[in-house]
Amino acid sequence: MGGLHKSEFKNPVINWFDSRMPVFTMMQKEYGTFPTPRNFNYFWNFGALAMVALMIMIVTGIFLAMNYTPNTAMAFDSVERIMRDVNYGWLIRYVHMNGASMFFIVVYVHIFRGLYYGSYKAPRELLWIIGVVLLLLMMATAFMGYVLPWGQMSYWGATVITNLFSAIPVVGQSIVTLLWGGFSVDNPTLNRFFSLHYLLPFVITGVVFLHVVALHITGSNNPLGIDVKSPQDTLPFHPYYTIKDSVGVCVFLLVFAILVFFAPNLLGHPDNYIPANPLSTPAEIVPEWYFLPFYAILRSVPNKLGGVSLMFGAILVLFVLPWLDTSPVRSARFRPYYRPFVLVLPVVVWVLGEVGAHRPEGIWVVLGRVATAWYFLHFLVILPFLGKLERPLPLPESISRPVLPRQGGGGPLPGGAPAKPMEKV
């Protein structure tokens, strides 16, 4: 073994480097010539957008940490100091604060894309599972970040969420004590949350790397959900998808900027501008919007352990999704029964979000329970059965020569007709 890599780069400096450590060759292979299905629609932007969001969060977070003080007596004031006295501190903090929301929006769309086009199915099960791990890591990171400003919602949110672990039989209380570093949410809690909030994004970065590695082994799924069969089905990643992703990044930044500059507190809760006070419980304790659906599931079960189990179950069920869905067809486009169900799912999650934002009384309790039941029904009952009941539409022959199933008998296009997949913009 050993010996230099045979680099094909002409530039002598790059060639010298690449021969000894072929990162240029690797980048060229994975992001330059990487064969990518030619028929992506704009839903396929959201993975890249999540990557951009992660980088923005890490960069702003590093600068915030330079000016933040993780001490219960000083945390709130240090955030205000960042807002008022640090050069462009308000910009860094508002970008970080709203960046969390943008990150979750992008990731939720990314997940929905996976559900709709069956991106979790063989051979991409591991890719999907790593993605669910990323979601869990993101949630933990976001939750701990929300605690750091040490406002009322920080404190009481931390109290409620950490207390959930006490529902675990036998070891629950010990876990809570460990999380708190004491017997209530206090300075040790803030310190460990700050430490972990700084650590986890780098863990996320590492797992994102694994996510991309797994992706580049199997290759991307595509809107037709059929395998790449020939080089005609693909385009090199660069320049086709680098430029298409750039369009998405611009639109993403535009939405992000409107939020940061014109409505920076729209998605936050006003109570978090009141310094934490252990002696005064807010009228309502609500988590950030991206946790509301799970919060609604938690509250729709009148039993603590049951609620906690269902709440975590709502995410854990995604781990086994590749085996719950029994249909061999990936894309919902060719699954007439699955399609309405997968479109109803985000509506159900939205309803859960609304339920989570309201006091659990009256109609909200009923809605919360119905929506919770539907959520689990979808994954645990409907999906396994649909695959058996459903008769999928005929699949196209290949990506580059798709049949148009809605318009005709299902044969390939006549020779000479221009290949025009309808999903291309």
């Binding site: 430029i243 729209l266 609304e354 109609i363």
Partner: protein, 252 residues
């Protein structure tokens, strides 16, 4: 959470939800603010009058710890004005040569002086209620500016049948309707230096403008930068999309 309700949900929910929340105060009516909108700025004259109201009324009970006197340049006060405002209070100085605490006149680099030494003293002087710090009060209330304005104008005689707690006042817009703060603003409570007639509505409008400045001193810079960045991003989006079309032309 400020979520738009699904129309369907709203229809379904309206009956029971409305009944369950009779104790909730009405939503404060929206006012016209100079700082609203993407080009919003602080009306300097109003903010300065508001500072006058703050100083002569609010500041006797409410602290505003996050602000420095120097921040008042943001509402258009001159350096000299700020120096004299700061010098009108005594703040703790460095320890004297004898090791004893000293006092000195305030400087523009000092934080706003709090009316009470600590929260306990504030409670003791206010019948057990703690007047909240006003630095970020506008952000710490749902629809802050409109809410504070409505609260200032919301004092009324308690309706028949409502039993008021000792030392509590009836306010239409306060959650639970019983507030420990007596009505702070009255007609001609202050005499405006610029001759504006000091009605309750005028005073409330001015003080809310000042409080919004206090909570969002970056607002004007944020709006100005936002407009430029959004314009730039719109341009970049168009440009990138055009390049994308060109790159993809041979594929389509």
């Amino acid at each position: 959470m400020r979520f738009g309700l699904l129309a369907v949900l709203g229809l379904v929910a309206i009956g029971p939800a409305a009944m369950a929340q009779t104790a909730e105060p009405p939503a404060p009516p929206a006012q016209n603010w100079s700082f609203d909108g993407i080009f919003g700025t602080f009306d300097r004259a109003s903010a300065q009058r508001g500072f006058q109201v703050y100083q002569s009324v609010c500041a006797s009970c409410h602290s505003m710890k996050q602000l420095y006197y120097r921040n008042l340049t943001g509402i258009g006060l001159s350096e000299d004005q700020i120096k004299s405002i700061a010098a009108s209070v005594q703040v703790p100085g460095a320890l004297g040569d004898d090791g004893q605490p000293t006092e000195r006149p305030g400087l523009p680099s000092d934080h706003f002086k709090s009316p009470f030494a600590n929260d306990l003293a504030a409670r003791a002087a206010n019948g057990g209620a703690l007047p909240p710090d006003q630095s970020v009060l506008e952000l710490a209330r749902e629809d802050g500016a409109n809410y504070i304005y409505a609260l200032m104008n919301g004092y009324k005689e308690p309706p028949a049948g409502i039993k008021m707690g000792a030392g509590m006042y009836y306010n239409e817009y306060f959650p639970g309707h019983q507030i420990a703060m007596p009505q702070p603003l009255h007609d001609d409570q202050v005499e405006y230096a610029d001759g504006t007639k000091a009605t309750i509505a005028q005073e409330a409008h001015d003080v809310v403008t000042f409080l919004t400045f206090a909570a969002n001193p970056e607002l004007e810079a944020r709006h100005a930068m936002g407009v430029r960045i959004v314009l730039f991003l719109v341009f970049m989006t168009g440009l990138t999309y055009a390049v994308k079309r060109k790159v993809w032309a041979d594929v389509h």
